[in-house]
């Protein structure tokens, strides 16, 4: 969060009061970034973002600013709303009938919940990788080309497929079998295929919902290496329940705790070494969750 934006939002909410001291704000992360370099461009920003499933509140007034071309990890116990937050970003929650979203979510400064935003067009800029590898029962080539096909990017498909597979660190393993079914690959390869599919149309942001939770340790470590590489070109937001994983691969970490509250958001090192909040420290050190 940049200092200018912080100041302006503080002034709006507490007109007559002096700005509260950093760390006492209920949303906590405000002010934590003071003294940090603020040159990172913000690509995604949530303001008072809440999500309800029917009567139940799954996300509670989340404010966060996610920097471009970095890995942002979202951690927290089960049911804390971390997947819900992820699915808000590309409006996958629209597919759930009972879901309702309050507040603003700005992508490149534009609120994605404005009436004039087409969720299908939005999802073409924000790719997604799911918890369980879900390749289509099609050839490896057709899997990777799927986004290109539905988005009408029909030129140089073969080249783009190879580039995507290469970036997903899968090309070497599958080069000779591009026409065989994606389902014949191992679980870890399938997940890298899904990553290749997500990056083939060259989105701006890649969302990953616990992408390694269904994989063995070797496959997991390959995916982790891959994610760090991807951050050179893409903004990666990854939900994980594995704290070591978040510590290993992310630049920033957001900690959600029960009730859909974002308790702390800061540089990953800071979160894991010296968190501001006792609840976060308890969670990180395994006292609950």
């Amino acid at each position: 969060m940049t200092n200018e934006q912080m100041t302006s939002s503080e002034t709006e909410s507490t007109t007559d009061q002096p700005a509260p001291t950093p760390g006492t704000d209920s949303l906590a992360d405000r002010g934590d970034t003071e003294g940090e370099p603020t040159t990172d461009r913000t690509i995604l920003e949530a303001r008072d973002l809440s999500v309800y499933y029917g009567e139940e509140r799954a996300l509670n007034d989340v404010d966060i600013e996610i920097p471009e071309k970095q890995v942002t990890a979202i951690i927290g116990p089960s049911g804390c709303g971390k997947s819900t937050f992820l699915r808000c970003i590309n409006r996958m929650n629209d597919l759930v009938d009972s879901a309702r979203v309050d507040g603003d979510l700005l992508f490149d400064g534009k609120n994605v919940y404005d009436d004039d935003v087409d969720p299908v067009a939005l999802r073409r800029k924000i790719g997604m990788v799911f918890q369980t590898p879900n390749p289509f029962p099609k050839s490896i080539r057709d899997n990777v080309a799927y986004g290109l096909k539905v988005q009408g990017k029909d030129d140089n498909v073969d080249e783009k497929v190879r580039t995507a597979l290469e970036r997903a660190a899968l090309l070497e393993e599958v080069e000779d079998q591009l026409d065989s079914s994606g389902l014949e690959l191992s679980g870890g390869q399938q997940q890298r295929l899904c990553i290749a599919r997500a990056i083939a149309p060259d989105p701006d942001v890649i969302l990953m919902d616990e992408p390694a939770s269904a994989l063995d340790p070797v496959a997991t470590s390959k995916i982790e290496d891959l994610i760090e590489d991807l951050a050179e070109e893409y903004t990666v937001i990854i939900v994980t329940h594995n704290m070591q994983q978040a510590a290993r691969i992310s630049d920033k970490t957001a900690v959600f705790l029960t009730g859909g509250e974002l308790v702390e958001f800061d540089d990953t090192d800071k979160i894991f070494e010296n968190p501001e909040h006792d609840r976060v420290e308890d969670y990180i050190t395994g006292k609950f969750g």
């Binding site: 067009a121 790719g127 799911f130 029962p137 986004g147 096909k149 539905v150 899904c194 997500a198």
Partner: protein, 296 residues
């Protein structure tokens, strides 16, 4: 399973538990299974024996004749196949369309549930009622003509449409949601998702259901009688508005002839032909299903 129903071993040192009821129930269940299989086998054997000497190439390729030794099944066989193809052309797109709407587009509201309930009910309506509907709607109101290919196909098509819709819905519902999510996540529209992901994956199930429904349609007699399809025609249909007969109608007609040659030999030959066509259709459905299961 078998181990549990064996007689308990003697002198085990732990005492014995009676297996009398186990054994009795096992025999009872076996008997229940055999009733179906044995009676079907008896029927098939009986008909097949009667058909010997009657079912030959001449029977399959000749028109009906008052002399049982020259009677043929050709117009009814072709009539049935023609009706069947037309039914497939009519019901497949309508059935799949309805299923896609109900599964992918419709909200889960009262109206949807009401439609759903009615489709299930329609699948159980007696075929003679569909015959009446066909007579009133297709023959009377729309003027397709008494006993024409078109009237027969629409009437019987309507009869199996609910079965096709339900089968297609089940096939579409069986497509894992993760596949749809993957597609939407790539920025695909609903139509692109249905066309590229849902339908290809559901198609073998839809095909199986449709073919099995056609198998049911081929045996239908009552609706054809209601729309006044002739029991006997001598030529094959040459247009949609030709009068047409079908295999079960022709068999029904022969069974009412006084000569025993008709009642046994010719009818049996007709029944065997009908069953062979039916079993062929069902085998195709099974082959499609197996091929699909191997692929995934």
């Amino acid at each position: 399973m078998a181990a549990d129903t064996r007689d308990a071993p003697a002198d085990s040192g732990f005492g014995q538990v009676s297996r009398t009821k186990d054994v009795a129930f096992r025999l009872l269940a076996l008997a229940a299974t055999l009733v179906g299989i044995v009676s079907l086998a008896a029927l098939l054997a009986n008909v097949a024996v009667d058909a010997i000497g009657w079912l030959d190439w001449g029977f399959l390729t000749s028109p009906p004749h008052p002399n049982p030794y020259e009677a043929g099944f050709f117009p009814a066989l072709i009539g049935s196949i023609a009706i069947m193809l037309l039914i497939a052309l009519i019901t497949f797109p309508v059935g799949v369309g309805a299923a896609v709407y109900l599964e992918e587009y419709a909200n889960d509201g009262y109206l949807t549930r009401f439609i759903q309930l009615n489709i299930a009910n329609l699948a159980g309506v007696p075929s003679v009622v569909y015959g009446l509907l066909g007579l009133g709607l297709f023959v009377g109101l729309l003027g397709f003509g008494y006993g024409t290919v078109l009237a027969a196909a629409f009437t019987v098509g309507l009869l199996i449409l609910p079965i096709i819709i339900i089968a297609a819905q089940e096939a579409i519902r069986a497509v894992p949601d993760s596949q749809r999510q993957a597609s939407y996540g790539m920025g695909a529209t609903k139509w692109q998702t249905i066309r590229n992901v849902v339908l290809p994956r559901a198609m073998p199930g839809i095909m199986t259901g449709t073919i099995l429904a056609l198998g049911r349609a081929i045996g239908e007699t009552a609706p054809l009688i209601m729309i006044a399809a002739p029991t006997t025609v001598f030529g094959i249909p040459n247009s949609l508005f030709s009068k047409v007969s079908a295999m079960p109608l022709q068999i029904y007609n022969w069974a009412s002839y006084p000569q025993t040659e008709f009642q046994y030999g010719v009818v049996a030959a007709g029944v065997v032909t009908l069953l062979v066509v039916l079993l062929t259709i069902n085998s195709i459905a099974i082959i499609i299903r197996n091929r699909y299961q191997q692929r995934t």
